[in-house]
Symmetry: C2
Subunit: 334 residues, 2 copies
């Protein structure tokens, strides 16, 4: 328990047993759950030290529904209205059940082969959004997840990503962030970074504004074309690169002075963040449409405060950001 | 021009000519456009007097697209960051073009009979959202619109509604508001108010929160089962009831003192408003998915500022509101 923010959703001894036996059916999911638990712990510790305040921890368990459609739980860790972080959340969830018809359809359309009427699944992931107060510290979001359809025709895949959303453009920050992610990717496959960087730019796009949500990072899904061990090892490299990619930016800008005008611009960018998450984000929409979902955890990604102005006129420094949001940059080859 | 906020989208003399000739093909749309222009003017005047500041007026025209799919324009009137109103917008739009395949499909699914591959249309409406600063003055939204598919198989319908979204529950306000709308409806058809009140409760529902956006009002669409003259006359009664339903509430609460805590609760309610508009509202979604739409006018409905708190704990007065949002009340028979 000392290593985690709370008791894991799957029993601790059960996890340890399966995670130490590569022959076990539940070797990979157990390793994954232990990994996301430890990543949650190390990030919360690091952020709490900067904030000077411990995270609030909510461990929630939902008894399996009568029809077996959904059960599981999660651990939501949050700092809200802090000195450094306006809202910082690091969530774990571990759920299982049977896929809804809608979900089966959606997965088939993505090329998955699913058999039978009742398709059981296990899904787990870590998901985090950190909205700082200082407009010169960017917002970061990351999410890493594992999905499994157990049984005779067992299928599994990993997905996830890490991306940066600043209020003002800082080219050095962008380069540091992207280079750190690229290094994590390159250790596994030289094709990963260019492929997942492009995917990220395409995914976090606010179509009605004609602009990206932020400066991107990496994004991938359906990673099942290497061994599960290799995929998990890649995912760990991604998860482990979150702190080195982000924490230096926090520390560098934490004491940078800022004006009311810069806060207003931050608020408008927070509004765009809300627009993306509520209108386009697949994870958020999936959550909102799920019966009895834990809405508080799903909408934890929204900023504490946001602003919408009619016909805001950005100045030159604001336009510097808008330009790169309209035309993604190759930060690692600049 | 003295009667309107700006030059109407359709030429003024053209409008007058058709609106004075009941035999004209364009009698109803011309009467409608003149009506929404005059309603916009009278409301802006009344609100500007209360605010002590004139509305900003943007008249915008979009040249018809090369493929004929969309043309027209609008008049956006707005007060932002005011003394009484945080954001108050009253918009007109008058557009024409040919329906997209998506729109044809959607209308057919609603039971419309549409013929041919290329379906021309004319649509016009007034749309308004007023977000006041004082948490004891409720937010109001209304929208009244006319849709026409001209030609051999001419079809037309009216739609619209008015609804109230307070921060705190005030039963007298709710009764006054609903009674005023009911009186406007009853003058035309005694079935309208109960039917359209129910429709409103069903429409403005934030499913993932299990609560309504506000205290409702009236909402209707596809009104084509009476003569166009009767329908327009009903719509005018609805439009004319906006000020008597709402302005007394503004005047009554304008000087009511409020605390920081009450402002925070207002901000959380504004967050819910954003959730409804971005996740569920058909008009907003239609706008966001329209190529080259005027996003600034569409998203004018969003509040200037909003807030999302993880696990907010409402007090007794906040819960009073939540209770009626969870279970709609028959305000006129209380």
């Amino acid at each position: 328990m000392g290593d985690y923010m709370a008791e894991p959703i799957t029993g601790y001894s059960e996890l340890k047993e399966h995670a130490s036996n590569p022959e076990s059916e539940r070797y990979i999911p157990s390793c994954m759950e232990m990994y996301i638990m430890s990543l949650q712990k190390s990030l919360c510790d690091e952020l709490a030290t900067i904030e000077g305040k411990e995270f609030t921890v909510d461990r929630w368990i939902r008894p399996t529904e009568a029809d077996g459609s959904l059960g599981g739980g999660g651990i939501t860790c949050i700092v809200q209205d802090g000195q450094v972080f306006e809202k910082a959340g690091v969530n774990i969830s571990v759920v299982h059940g049977t896929l809804s018809k809608q979900a089966i359809q959606q997965m088939k359309s993505r090329g998955k082969e699913l058999f039978g009427e009742s398709v059981p699944f296990t899904a787990m992931g870590i998901s985090s959004v950190i909205h700082p107060i200082n407009p010169f510290i960017p917002t970061i979001h990351f999410n890493y997840r594992y999905f499994e359809i157990p049984g005779e025709n067992k299928q599994w895949w990993f997905g996830g990503g890490t991306d940066l959303t600043p209020t003002y453009l800082n080219r050095d920050d962008a380069k540091h962030f992207h280079t750190t992610l690229k290094t994590a990717c390159d250790g596994h496959d030289k094709d990963y970074y260019p492929k997942f960087k492009k995917w990220c730019d395409e995914y976090f796009y606010i179509k009605h504004r004609g602009e990206s949500r932020g400066l991107g990072g990496i994004f991938f899904d359906d990673l099942d074309y290497v061994s599960a061990e290799s995929a998990l090892s890649f995912l760990k490299s991604c998860g482990n690169s979150v702190a080195p990619a982000y924490i230096p930016l926090v520390k560098q800008h934490i004491n940078e002075p800022y004006s009311d005008e810069e806060v207003q611009w931050r608020q408008l960018r927070r509004g765009r963040y809300v627009e993306f998450n509520l209108v386009y984000d697949r994870g958020t929409k999936f959550g909102l449409y799920t019966e009895n979902a834990r809405i508080e955890s799903i909408l934890m990604s929204l900023p504490l405060t946001a602003r919408w102005e009619y016909m805001n006129k950005p100045g030159p420094r604001e336009n510097e950001l808008l330009e790169v949001l309209k035309k993604p940059v190759e930060w690692c080859s600049e």
